[in-house]
Amino acid sequence: MAWGKAGSTTLTSAGDTVTVSGLSDNKYFTVLGYKQSSGTSDFNWRVGNGSADSGNNYARRQSSNGGSDTTNTGYSRMFADNGGASTPSFQVGYFVNIATEEKLNITHSVSQSTAGAGTAPDIRESVNKWANTSDLIDVIQGVNVEGGDFASGSNVSVLGSDLTTSSNKPTDVQEGSRFEETDTRKMYHYFESGGTDIQDKTLVQNGDDITYSGGVIDVNIGSSSSSEGDYLLHTLNVPITTTDFVLDFDYKRVSGGTGVFGGLVFRSNQSGESVENSNTGDYIRTSPNAAGSSMNMYWHNDGDSTETELGYLTGLNSAGSWNYLRLTRTNGTNIKLERFSSSARSGSADAEAAVTNLSATWGLSLKYIGGYCAYASGGGLEEHFDNIDLSSTTKLWKELGT
């Protein structure tokens, strides 16, 4: 980590605030503030989370030109410059930023005073605190409470202590692009997954009880036990190497069955292309119950003898109605299945089934997505899957080697 530019705002017209917002989480900030004035103004700090806090949540201490210290408590802002002048001032502030602790500040300020070399500038040395103990600072503001304004050109610049390097690989490139990393000699292939409806891709079919028609995966097992092992497979042209992804899909039970199981399966980058729940490889699969009122999820770790249940997602709509589901993996150990009331999947989910302790070795860097039929001793099951959209927010570049 390193000091770097966390944000900077320069006024282009007169105003009472100069605000830098959207600051990332940094333990320390160094803030440079330069005030130009239109009329009489002063320069004070406010900080906040989401917006600058103008409540009486500050306490402060200052000395001007070496005079005795004065303090204010329950105040609406921190000290910075000497205030009440129509001439520029310059302040350097150091902030420490821990969410659960009061935020502390040390500020040194010089104010120009009357223009010209005949008048010495003024100094204010201050220490300040924001008594908030629940939020990180993500907004730092210079604020004027005098009758005039900050003039255009006034600036607040924030340096953060914990900025990190960022990936240099572009994301506004065509699918299939190749990135040649000159410092590591590695090559990468670009897989554009964001918002892709996988049903637009080429599908591989095995057997005839799972078909793709009209944009819908139709699992229709009928009554034949020979259906077991049928699948309809989409092989992602480039595996997603990230463990973070969101997979939306719509599910509808058309008709119930007995002794039959089928659903969607999401498999990791294993050898072979079987998609049934064969207790081999790393995979996760849906398993709607026969009544169509709930959906269970199972995951399997390669080498284990049995699957592990994620738990039931309850309250599915009755046969004939679509359910709007979302499978989310947010990191190496967490995965959840959610049910939403509309296809927009906005707001909170209506129900959720989750696991938070996946094996550290578990993969599921998605390579295959498909419908499967696992057990068909009974029959009569028909279910539809539609609008299967896969998106991944990071690391869409697949390493090919050196």
Binding site: K5, R60, G66, Y94, V110, T119, A131, N168
Partner: protein, 349 residues
């Protein structure tokens, strides 16, 4: 920002990551190779903000004050307000230089900030540690200077540190000019992170661990106070517990507290009954005493109804054979620092 190159066949070439952009960047530096009365730093690019690290050596005899001149302007265009040892601020007006604190001492460390807008007067903030006579028996002096260059037509392109008399600074004296501008996208950061250590759980020692030796150090420390009895804070460099430190400080603008021949630095040591935050700069040459300029805020009792306190420090470690490679605060009274306490150290040569 690292450049990407695009080629036929959807081929793209670039490096693995962008470095962090927009830190303080070294713009120019002059280091004396032999004794001289002036240290001139030229060809300075126009940046909104400058941070100047000033380390002068060996001055003796003659007048005591040196000062800045900008763009070679020796006219009566400077004004200064200045305080030494926490005393009253005196002023100079219509001076021919921006008169700094530069006593007849073996060594001076100045850390200056300067705002630079061509159509506005240039404003300077400076904090100084003046080593005073060598040895831990002599506490350093401290000064605060603010000044202006009343020019409203030019951006700064040259900074001269002039002795204003015939006395000279020794070889090795230098002025380093760093710049920061809102438009900067460079990735050449002067300050390199050397340590970032969070205590994690309550403990009696907060240490940087071993750090790479650098000429200039910037240290920031947060102390979490656990309530109840206070830990003490014995800051030491390289685990030196000999009586090799001297300290001058003021609490809440009060009278100077001078300690000489002590076994540790005394930051956050006087009123450490609350969380504290320390900012310090250090000049860290092996053959010279190590000088520290520091400021501290003590949060006081929790809540906005309780004002914080402040300390101003100058310190020296009288070692003249080693660079600092470890910075540690130890509590020896049986009371611990909170687990959220942490120290970060940045450095550069």
């Amino acid at each position: 920002m690292c450049a990407l190159t695009y080629h036929a066949g959807r081929r793209i070439q670039g490096t693995s990551a962008d470095a962090v952009s927009g830190g303080w960047k070294e713009l120019a530096r002059t280091t004396l190779g032999s004794g001289n009365t002036n240290i001139n730093v030229t060809s300075i690019p126009d940046k909104r903000y400058y941070m100047i690290l000033r380390n002068t050596l060996g001055r003796s005899g003659g007048g005591s004050n040196g000062g800045y001149q900008f763009n070679g302007d020796s006219g009566s265009n400077y004004a200064v307000r200045r305080s030494g040892q926490g005393g009253n601020f005196g002023t100079d007006a219509n001076f021919s230089d921006l008169d700094l604190w530069d006593a007849n001492s073996p060594q001076i460390l100045g850390v200056d900030y300067l705002v630079n807008k061509s159509d506005k007067e240039k404003l300077l903030l400076s904090h100084v540690n003046d080593s005073n006579t060598a040895g831990a028996g002599n506490a350093p002096n401290r000064a605060v200077i603010l000044g202006k260059w009343a020019n409203t037509s030019d951006a700064i392109n040259r900074i001269d540190l002039n002795s204003m008399n015939s006395t000279t600074w020794n070889s090795g004296s230098e002025v380093v000019v760093l710049g920061w501008d809102p438009a900067d996208t460079h990735t050449t950061n002067f300050w390199e992170e050397l340590a970032s250590v969070e205590l994690g759980s309550a403990g009696a020692s907060l240490s940087s661990g071993t750090i790479t030796a650098k000429k200039y150090l910037w240290v920031q420390v947060f102390f979490e106070h656990l309530g109840g009895s206070n830990p003490n804070t014995l800051w030491r460099f390289n685990s030196d517990s000999g009586n090799n430190y001297a300290n001058r400080s003021s609490h809440d603008g009060g009278s100077e507290d001078v300690e000489t021949g002590i076994s540790h630095l005394d930051f956050y040591g006087q009123t450490n009954d609350s969380n504290g935050f320390i900012n310090m700069f250090i000049i860290n040459n092996a053959s010279n005493e190590k000088l520290v300029i520091g400021h501290t805020i003590l949060a006081g009792a929790s809540g906005a109804g309780n004002a914080p306190s402040r300390d101003e420090h100058v310190v020296k470690w009288a070692n003249t054979s080693n660079q600092i490679t470890n910075i540690t605060s130890t509590s020896t009274n049986g009371n611990n620092y909170g687990g959220k306490s942490f120290i970060k150290v940045w450095g550069s040569d």
